[in-house]
Symmetry: C2
Subunit: 275 residues, 2 copies
Amino acid sequence: MNPIRRGWGCKKVRSFSRAENEEEEKMKLKVYVDRMSQPSRAILIFCKVNGIEFEEVQINLAKQQQKSPDFKKINPMGQVPTIADGRFNLFESHAILVYLACAFPGVADHWYPADLFRRAKINSVLDWHHFNLRRGAMTYVLNTVLAPVFGLRLNPQAAAEAEKLLSSSLSKIESIWLKGNGKFLLGGFQPSIADLSLVCEIMQLELLDENDRSRILGPHKKVLEWIENTKNATRPHFEEVHQILYRAKTRFQEQRSMGGNNTNLSKRLGLPSKM
Amino acid sequence: MNPIRRGWGCKKVRSFSRAENEEEEKMKLKVYVDRMSQPSRAILIFCKVNGIEFEEVQINLAKQQQKSPDFKKINPMGQVPTIADGRFNLFESHAILVYLACAFPGVADHWYPADLFRRAKINSVLDWHHFNLRRGAMTYVLNTVLAPVFGLRLNPQAAAEAEKLLSSSLSKIESIWLKGNGKFLLGGFQPSIADLSLVCEIMQLELLDENDRSRILGPHKKVLEWIENTKNATRPHFEEVHQILYRAKTRFQEQRSMGGNNTNLSKRLGLPSKM
C-alpha cells in the first residue's frame, strides 16, 4: 500500500460554541427522532458521546407525526432520524453520522477516520448493512413480534426467511469483520460509526421472545462481545438511550406471559410504524 | 449557512501514471464485474468516463464464479462489483464509487463534491437508494421477468408490492431531487455518483415487457429526461456498457413473442444470480 495515498482530509469545520443568543439558538443542531427506532438511537448516542450540543425533537411515529406537513418541510421523505443544522436539513442515519463526524471538530478520528482506506472499509460495512443485517433483523422482528401492533398478521414464512438472512449476516460479521484481536469491526480498538449503527440494529432483537433471541444470537460469541464492547465504549449514553427499548421488552414479556398477542399493545408502548 | 463550514477536503491521492513495468502492472486497479449487474455497470462507466486505468475481470454470476474460493479471497462476501487496488480490496458499489472519486486525482469534483453539504446530500441519496428504488426495482424485475431463469416462480403479489415501492420511489426522486431546472439530482448541472448509481438501477427495467415498463416509467417525465441527461453526460461509455442489457432485452422480447416463459433462458443469456 503506497503511503503517499494515505489521508482523505476530512476537515473539521464546525465550531462547538454554546449558543449564547437567540440567533445562535436557532442555529443549534436539531435532531428529530423517535427513540423506538434503532437509527434514531444511533444518532442520539453519537451526539452524546461526542459532546455535540443538540436539541432532541421527538417525532412520535405511532402518532404518524413524521407525515405531518410541518415535519415534511424538514424532511419531505417523512422519516426519522433527520437533523437540521441551521438551515441545512439531512436525513438517512448513515449520511447523518458521516456529516456529524466531519462537521464537528470535537469528534475523534476513530469514529470516521480521515485515512482513505479505513474510511472506505467503513463505508463498505455501512452500505452492506442495508440489505443484509438491517433487512434480516427488521423483517424478523416485524414478523415475530411487531406485526400485530400495526394491525398486520405475523408471517411465519417471512420470519423464517428473515432469520436465515439475519443469522447469515451475523456469521459474516463475525468471520469477516470481527476476526482477529480487535474489539470492534475491521479489527479496530476503538469504535467507528459502523459499530454504532450495526450494534443499534442488533439491539432491536431485545423485543423478541428470549428463546428466539438466544437461538439467533447465542451461537455468535464474538458478536455478543462486540455488543458489550460498544456499550462500554459509549456508556452511560448507550444504556440511557436504550431505556425505552428495555421498557418495551418488559411489556412484551408481560404480554407473552399472559398468553396474549400484541394487537392492542401499541398505545401502551407508543410504538412506531417504522422501527 | 456559514461559509467557514464549507469544504471537506477530499484529497486526491492516487497517481494516474500508466503501468510501465511488471510491478506497476500488478498494482493496476482491477475491477471484478458481471455486466448484467447494474452496480457493476455503474462502476465500469465511472472508470471509463473518468479515464481511470483498470483491468476488467469478468466474474460470471450465472456460473457462480463469485462463490469460488479464489474470488472469495478477494471478496469474502462473494459479490460483484469488487475492486482490488494494489493490495487494497473493496466491495459495495457505493463505497467503491466514493473511494475511486477520492483516490484518483483525475476525477472531477462534481462526481463527489468536496463541499461538506453537497457531499452529505449525495450520501443521503445513496443511502436512501438501498431500501427504496433499488429494493422496488430489483424485486419487481425478479418477480415479473427473472424468477423463472433462476428456477423460481413468479410471485404476482410480491411484484405488485414492489411496483408500489418502485413507483413511489420514482415519484419521490422527481418531486424532491429533480425539482427545479437542474439536469441532475439535487439540482445539479453535472452528474454525481448518485445519478450514475440510480440511473443504472432504473436501466434494469429495460428487461420488462414494454407495457409494464411504459406504465411504470411513463408518468415520470422528469425521470425520463434525467436518464437521457445521464446517458449524454457519460457517452459513449454508458451505451457501450449497457449493450449486454439491450441484447438480453431483445431475447426476452423474442421469448415473449413466442409465448414462452423464461425458464430455460439462463444459458442463452448468461444471466446472473444477483442482478
